[in-house]
């Protein structure tokens, strides 16, 4: 296992994991306010398709990113309307949104299958310019990748250091108490979903515009559900999500690494490790009677909302 190979794994994980991390951050914001979005897969698909189409049509990727973000926000607002204003069951609404996303994304993207776009520029950090080309080529990341860590830090800061974040978390824990403290849970949930949608759109944009640079139906390949699992794994904490995203997306790359050292593990089995890990972590928590989930989210999972 050479340093180069290791670096290759890390680099691959970073590329693949950035979109996952953005989506996870968005879902964390939403779930912290008490809304779980099972339709995240659909949201990501629609954003990816819309962003890609906009990039292809306009010739500039930056417009595509913007469109993807807006699309994500709009999709989430549909969920918000159903869940907050109409008080619909969150799980069913999320799944309906997922199917909606399947269909809408296929339609938006139908003319753009196989289209070519100019992706985002790949840059190296100034200090690393002097590295030999092999290493250097693995460390050339696009701006969205560079932005993801600051974004995670920003999400953390907003959630834990601002009044808005405090209200949001209070709504996610105990909406009645938050209401007694003068907050409007419905409005806060809408705003949380809006922010979450923007972040999810950003993640989808990275996937279709910067990483894969194409569009195919169902191209997110389950990332939405992976993000939902990752939210649980990172205990609804933005900074822990960073590690988790690397872990979750590094699995396949890690398999290649193992193979090169002579260890034969099926990539598919390796793929299951993050989720089994999450389940394991949940079992351990459950045994200790301590629930890290936002309290009002539990009611969703029990069908009470």
């Amino acid at each position: 296992m050479t340093p180069l190979a290791l670096l290759g794994v890390v680099s691959s994980a970073i590329f693949s994991g950035t979109s996952l991390l953005y989506a996870t951050l968005g879902e964390i914001v939403g779930e912290r306010s008490g809304v779980v979005n099972l339709g995240l897969e659909g949201v990501l698909l629609v954003s990816a398709a819309a962003g890609f189409a906009a990039s292809a049509a306009s010739g500039t990727p930056y417009l595509g990113i913007l469109v993807a973000m807006i699309a994500g926000a709009l999709m989430n607002l549909i969920l918000g309307y159903l869940v907050v204003s109409r008080r619909a069951n969150q799980l069913a609404s999320g799944l309906a949104l997922m199917f909606f996303g399947f269909g809408l994304s296929a339609w938006i993207g139908r003319d753009y299958v196989g289209a070519k776009i100019t992706g985002l520029p790949r840059l190296t950090l100034p200090g690393l310019a002097g590295l030999p080309t092999l290493y250097g080529s693995l460390l050339r990341f696009d701006p969205l990748i560079y932005l993801v860590l600051p974004t995670a830090a920003l999400v953390w800061w907003v959630l834990f250091r601002t009044r808005w974040g405090l209200s949001l978390r209070a709504v996610g824990e105990a909406p009645d108490t938050a209401f007694a403290a003068g907050r409007n849970p419905g409005r806060i949930r809408y705003r949380a979903l809006l922010a979450g949608g923007l972040l999810a759109g950003l993640g989808a944009a990275h996937l279709s515009i910067a990483y894969a640079m194409n569009w195919t139906e169902y191209m997110t390949a389950g990332r939405g559900f992976i993000a939902i699992a990752l939210v649980i794994f990172s205990k609804w904490h933005p900074l822990r999500a960073i590690v988790g995203a690397l872990l979750f997306s590094g699995a396949v790359a890690f398999q290649l690494l193992l193979q090169s050292s002579g260890v034969q593990v099926s990539p598919f089995l390796l793929n299951t490790v993050p989720y089994l890990l999450t389940l394991g972590v949940l079992i351990i928590w459950g045994g200790r009677r301590r629930n890290a989930a936002p309290a009002s989210l539990g009611r969703v999972y029990q069908g009470a909302e």
Binding site: R161, T162, R163, W164, L166, S167, R169, A170, E173, A174, T177, A178, A180, A181, R183, R290, P294, A295
Partner: protein, 553 residues
């Protein structure tokens, strides 16, 4: 045609009249002295923070607060003492705006305050600490406090808030780690945090509803010191309790409530255990003649034996300690006590819903310490829970189906592929009739009135000749006729050889029906008697912990 002339009293005149009435009333009250037990209280020269005048609150079927008048001054700890059902909680919820009073006035600093919502109460700087704390467990103390601060900046300085909290904490001996998550704190510390939250919002009148219920003994002492400091600093504190010890130790003045009315007012100097108990409990028992003949076989083998049984305390609930209890066939054992002292745990334990942490439980001689509920039910144990709607009934099933769920095996045919509904119907109707009740078996259980639901549970649990009946407050919420019918049903069960454990707060009922009487206080049996050998006073004393020198852990 006569013209109807309406007299519109101008608003200002009305207010003036009201004020005059209030002033006159206040004067009269002050002259009349404090309560029926004699003793003059010195009228304070300052205006009371809170004045309650002839407050009434009615719920369907019960007058919870009847003509209550009360004054609370700043700088005093004022205890509201009374049994459950005496009206303390209701009164205080009216003060906090949770309930709308039906009559009477509330004056804050001499000015009428409608107090129609908790927000209004908060605006009048009244703060209340409930039995269910309103802190958010997953947030830190600082965050909880910050959430309720009126002018929180967009980027609040939590360190600043924490510093203020620490300062306040030192001042009143309410030290709590501001950065701790509420769920990591002990209940006692959570209470402190709740108090701090109210103090940060500059409350002047604090109401605490049975705060010691969730505290361990040394924490209780700490709490009293805190209350003292708060009062010395000029706040007014209302302490609701049913424990004499607390009232005598912590309060400057005590108002005793009984059955919705003010039974008496005493200062600490005037008060004594005896006087308080006398005020809290009615001493005359009405003479209901009920047939109490016992079956020939007296004191047969015990149906239920609890030997040194203890349970672990769950959260804020009480744990049982070293319970020795036996119920024999053909006898009614009454369990007296204020609810919250272990009654629920005792009933759950016997049913098998709560496991013993120590000790042995025997049913008809067989060790059932580890048995499941199903096995205990099959041994013909009936269980009447304290809240039938949430604990014993399936709301969306029909009443008929509800009657069958405790005995599905008995009614199953063809290995379970069919249910013998005609038999269920037959037996249910017979049982209903024999008890003198009347309610429909069709229709969903949730459409039954509260009283009928109680009746349904009674019928179900008392039919089919149970060997042991555990009844928790079986006549709560029933009208007089049904109460008598239910009591007769319990006696009938006793007559056919069942052992009955009757948990009740109604001392009259307990004295009437029990062959033996035990008192449950703080999870222990505080005494066992025959009704003829004891008195309401003695039982009342034990129920309120007065029999003990200290609150024993």
């Amino acid at each position: 045609m006569a013209k109807v002339v309406k007299f519109d009293i101008p608003v200002r005149t009305a207010r003036l009249l009201g004020f005059l009435t209030g002033a006159v009333g206040m004067g009269r009250w002050m002259k009349a002295g404090a309560g029926t037990q004699g003793g003059e209280t010195l009228p304070r020269l300052s205006l009371p923070v809170l004045q309650v005048r002839e407050l009434c609150k009615r719920f369907p079927g019960v007058l919870a607060n009847d003509d209550i008048s009360l004054d609370v001054f700043s700088g005093e700890v004022h205890a509201l003492l009374g049994e459950n059902g005496a009206g303390k909680s209701t009164l205080v919820k009216c003060l906090y705006g949770y309930y709308q009073r039906d009559a009477g006035e509330i004056l804050v600093d001499g000015i009428a305050a409608p107090l129609q919502s908790p927000e209004e109460a908060r605006r009048h700087r009244i703060g209340m600490v409930f039995q269910n704390l309103t802190l958010i467990p997953a947030l830190t103390v600082v965050e909880n406090v910050a959430l309720f601060l009126p002018d929180l900046p967009v980027v609040p300085s939590l360190t600043e808030i924490a510093a203020r909290l620490t300062m306040l904490g030192e001042r009143y001996r309410l030290q709590v780690d501001p950065w701790a998550q509420v769920q990591d704190l002990s209940i006692g510390q959570q209470q402190k945090a709740e108090l701090l939250k109210l103090l940060m919002a500059e409350a002047r009148l604090l109401i605490l509803d049975e705060p010691s219920r969730v505290l361990v003994p040394h924490e209780v002492e700490g709490l009293f010191q805190v209350l003292r400091h708060l009062a010395d600093d000029g706040l007014a504190v209302i302490l609701i309790t049913h424990k004499l010890e607390e009232a005598l130790r912590a309060a400057d003045r005590i108002t005793v409530l009984r059955q919705g009315r003010v039974a008496g007012r005493l200062t600490r100097a005037e008060a004594s255990e005896d006087k308080l108990i006398h005020l809290m409990f009615e001493t005359e028992l009405s003479n209901l003649s009920v047939d109490r003949s016992r079956p020939a076989e007296l004191a047969a083998a015990p149906v239920l034996e609890l030997e040194r049984v203890s349970t672990a305390a769950r959260g804020t609930a009480v744990g049982l300690y070293d319970i020795d209890l036996a119920v024999h066939a053909g006898e009614i054992v009454g369990v007296a006590g204020v609810s919250g002292n272990g009654q629920r745990e005792l009933a759950d334990l016997i049913l098998g819903d709560l496991m013993c942490a120590a000790g042995t439980k025997r049913l008809l001689g067989r060790d059932v310490t580890r048995s499941a509920i199903g096995a205990i039910r099959r041994a013909r144990v009936g269980y009447i829970p304290e809240d039938p709607l949430t604990m014993a009934a399936i709301p969306f099933l029909s009443v008929l189906e509800n009657m069958a769920i405790t005995r599905t095996e008995h009614y199953a045919r063809n290995g379970g592929w069919q249910m013998d509904w005609p038999a269920v119907q037959r037996e249910a109707e017979a049982a209903i009739q024999s008890l003198g009740f009347a309610f429909s078996l069709t229709g969903q259980a949730r459409s039954l009135s509260g009283g009928n639901l109680q009746r349904m549970v009674l019928v179900r649990e008392l039919s089919h000749e149970p060997r042991l009946v555990v009844a928790c407050y079986p006549t709560r919420g029933l009208d007089a006729r049904s109460t008598v019918a239910a009591q007769k049903a319990l006696l009938a069960a006793r007559a056919q050889g069942a052992g009955v454990l009757l948990i009740s707060e109604d001392l009259e009922e307990l004295f009437l029906l029990s062959d033996r009487l035990v008192v449950l206080f703080a999870g222990r049996i505080a005494g066992a008697f025959r009704p003829a050998e004891t008195s309401v006073m003695a039982i009342g004393r034990l129920m309120t912990g007065a029999g003990e020198a200290h609150v024993v852990p």
